[in-house]
């Protein structure tokens, strides 16, 4: 368990510090693409990520940095992608919202809400047809559960009994629109999905141990039964929907609400626990911090120095030769 705790912490810290570094450098104007940061939501990505193995396939949406990193995606290639460089994970064609690292089973994140949900189900179909010992994981948000394609996908996964794990990070906001104006009062997303025929659970998305346990349980269930599973994780986005800034002053949510969630900072909380339970010493924490910071520094240096794609390459064929 100790090793797992350490990995969970280091992964969360990596996500937090990467996102903070992006936010810090964003105004330099070198990251010229819409960028949706995951600060505040590190536990849900890390907890699920560690419950998976490389052979498992994952897809995600516009806010995907954390999922990509939690699945083991290459950091240098991600930062280079946000910098629009040829060395980026999508060769600069995709940017922050279109990440991929097939070496670790991160099959793609896309920008349109709900877009990768059925694609993840299709990955599950393929895994089942080939009798592979792997599952497909779909990271989605509360907003996506309002898209028609979500219901279509859940329905098909349930009907066909596909090895698919739906992970819904509920951060209460779709851009600036609160869940209150988007879904009826009293609805629990996981209960609704359960009623559609998929076994579901929910937990505190800011408690990384709980997330890991829930994900681990779900993965085992999927492997045992071959049936899909749905997890809802309650969490909170600290920064604006898109961009590097805090935006509690613009009037769509209150500073108080934000501060309440900030008290439940997933990284800080877990660090406290690890020290209290003597799983990590202060020195361990310091070492991890140092290691992560070096890694991030190198990644930004790599991205900054890497060459852009050649302008003429914009006009290469978009077909794969048959």
């Amino acid at each position: 368990m100790k090793t797992i705790d350490k990995k969970l912490y280091e992964n969360m810290l990596l996500i937090r510090l990467v996102e903070e570094e992006i936010a810090k450098k964003y105004t330099q104007g070198k990251m010229r693409c819409p960028t949706h940061l995951s600060i505040g939501q590190e536990a849900s990505a890390s907890g699920v990520g560690l419950a998976l193995n490389k052979k498992d396939l994952a897809v995600s949406s516009h806010r995907a940095h954390a999922h990509y990193l939690a699945k083991g995606g290459n950091l240098k290639k991600m930062i280079a992608e946000i910098y629009g460089k040829e060395a980026g994970c999508s060769k600069g064609r995709g940017g922050s919202m279109h990440l991929i690292d097939r070496k670790v089973g991160f099959e793609g994140s896309t920008a349109i809400v709900g877009n990768t949900i059925p694609i993840g189900v299709g990955l599950g179909l393929s895994l089942k047809l080939d009798s592979k010992d792997a599952i497909s994981v779909i990271f989605c948000g509360d907003g996506s559960t309002e898209e028609g394609v979500f219901y279509e996908s859940v329905n098909f996964a349930a009907t066909k009994n596909l090895p698919v794990l739906f992970v819904c990070e509920n951060n209460s906001y779709s851009v600036y629109s609160s869940l209150k104006v988007r879904q009826p009062r009293g609805r629990k997303i996981y209960e609704m999905v359960e009623a559609m025929g998929i076994r579901s659970s929910h937990t505190d998305g800011n408690d990384v141990r709980k997330v890991y346990q829930a994900a681990n349980f779900a993965v085992n269930q999927i492997k045992k039964t071959g049936s899909p599973f749905f997890i809802e994780l309650e969490t909170y986005r600290w920064l604006e929907h898109c961009g590097p800034s805090y935006d509690n002053h613009i009037g769509y949510r209150s500073e108080l609400e934000y501060l309440e969630w900030k008290k439940r900072d997933p990284v800080k909380l877990f660090k406290k626990i690890l020290l209290k339970e003597k799983i990590l010493t202060k020195d361990d924490i310091h070492q991890i911090d140092k290691r992560v910071k070096i890694k991030i520094k190198e990644a930004f240096k790599f991205a900054n120095n890497a060459p852009f794609p050649k302008p003429q390459s914009a006009f290469e064929t978009m077909y794969l030769d048959s």
């Binding site: 793609g108 877009n115 059925p118 990955l123 393929s126 394609v149 978009m318 794969l320």
Partner: protein
């Protein structure tokens, strides 16, 4: 060896032979294994290849397209079928934002080898939402290939190529062609995508057509031949990509061109082709290029509303005679094109409802 089979049987044969050769090919869509088997085009496939590879689906066009994309990027080659193109409009996000972009937006790491069969038509009360020929929509999107066969032989050969193609392909079948018979090779023979076919040689005018309009063009050319007008008929076969070389070369010889389209005039493939012709072949043109397409009005359902709505061989013939300043006794056209069956069906075989 070639034998006479219908367009729809040619399609079934292409799928059957492809599936026999490649176990990664799947086919799914609403009704693929129902008693009508998508107008017979999927008959017997489930029995032969099993429920894992041939299956019916929920009425979820958008998600099922995504499922096809997901299966494709994980190594499968799905064929998806929609009995009516109009229903597939629910799947535009998956088609445009995912299938068409995947190869490009992830830096050319993984293409999406899916074939989407869409059946479209006209007449017999298909009306505003069952008759749309939206090839221009699909051809507008970089990353998609759009195939429109006009003969049974091409239906088979082009479908084989579409299934084998590593890119997403929209395969448009005109319902009025389904029962047409033609000589089709028994063997597994592909027809390349992106290469037009000169169906008839002629020196006076080039007719460029796709899908069902090729048939009307052939009838028009037959009639005009009797009046000493020799048409060169080009069957585009695919409208993305378009084989412009074949069109331009033909115009060098004929100096005149008319483009026929099964879709609405506004923003149509025919408009794009004429624009390219003006750009490339201006000096070769001796007459204003023309085009005939569906009017910019939805198709009405009533029998009477389609009487003058669609372009047919007579309209094409009269337009060409006008372009060539040839005058004939128009009653000859009336006699030649007198239909033995109502105007809103392709032949007596078609008794509706689809």
């Amino acid at each position: 060896m070639k034998r006479l089979i219908t367009f729809v049987d040619a399609i079934r044969e292409a799928i059957d032979q492809s599936m026999a050769k490649d176990k990664d090919i799947l086919i799914f869509g609403l009704g693929v294994d129902d008693p009508k088997n998508i107008f017979g085009s999927t008959a017997g496939l489930q029995k032969k290849y099993g429920e894992a590879r041939v299956f019916d689906v929920p009425t979820s066009e958008n998600a099922m397209t995504g499922v096809g994309i997901g299966a494709a990027i994980a190594g499968k080659k799905p064929i998806m079928v929609h009995q009516r193109l109009d229903f597939f409009l629910l799947a535009m996000d998956q088609l445009v934002n995912a299938a068409a972009k995947w190869y490009f937006m992830f830096g050319k790491q993984q293409s999406v080898p899916i074939t989407i069969r869409l059946i479209m038509g006209r007449g017999w009360g298909q009306g505003p939402t069952h008759s749309q020929n939206l090839q221009a929509w699909f051809a507008h999107i970089p990353g998609l290939k759009v195939v429109m066969p006009a003969s049974p032989e091409d239906a088979k050969g082009l479908l084989i190529s579409s299934i084998q193609d590593p890119n997403p392909v929209i395969f448009l079948e005109h319902r009025w062609l389904h029962n047409m018979k033609g000589k089709v090779s028994k063997s597994f023979k592909s027809v390349p995508l992106g290469k037009a076919n000169i169906i008839k040689k002629g020196a006076d005018i080039t007719i460029v057509a796709m899908s069902y309009m090729v048939i009307e063009a052939i009838h028009a050319a037959e009639f005009l031949e009797k009046h000493n007008v020799h048409c060169e008929v080009i069957d585009l076969r695919t409208v993305a990509p378009i084989d412009y070389d074949t069109i331009f070369q033909s115009i060098e010889k004929t100096n005149k061109v008319i483009v026929l389209d099964t879709g609405h005039l506004n923003g149509s493939i025919s408009g794009e082709i004429i624009s390219r012709i003006i750009d490339h072949s201006w000096d070769n043109l001796s007459a204003k290029p023309e085009r005939l397409a569906m009017p910019n009005f939805p198709e009405g359902t009533s029998y009477s509303l389609t009487k003058e709505y669609h372009v047919d061989a007579k309209d094409i013939s009269l337009k060409i005679l006008e372009m060539l300043s040839v005058s004939i006794d128009t009653s000859a056209a009336e006699v030649f094109f007198k239909k033995e069956h109502p105007h809103d069906i392709p032949g007596d075989w078609f008794t509706g409802p689809f």
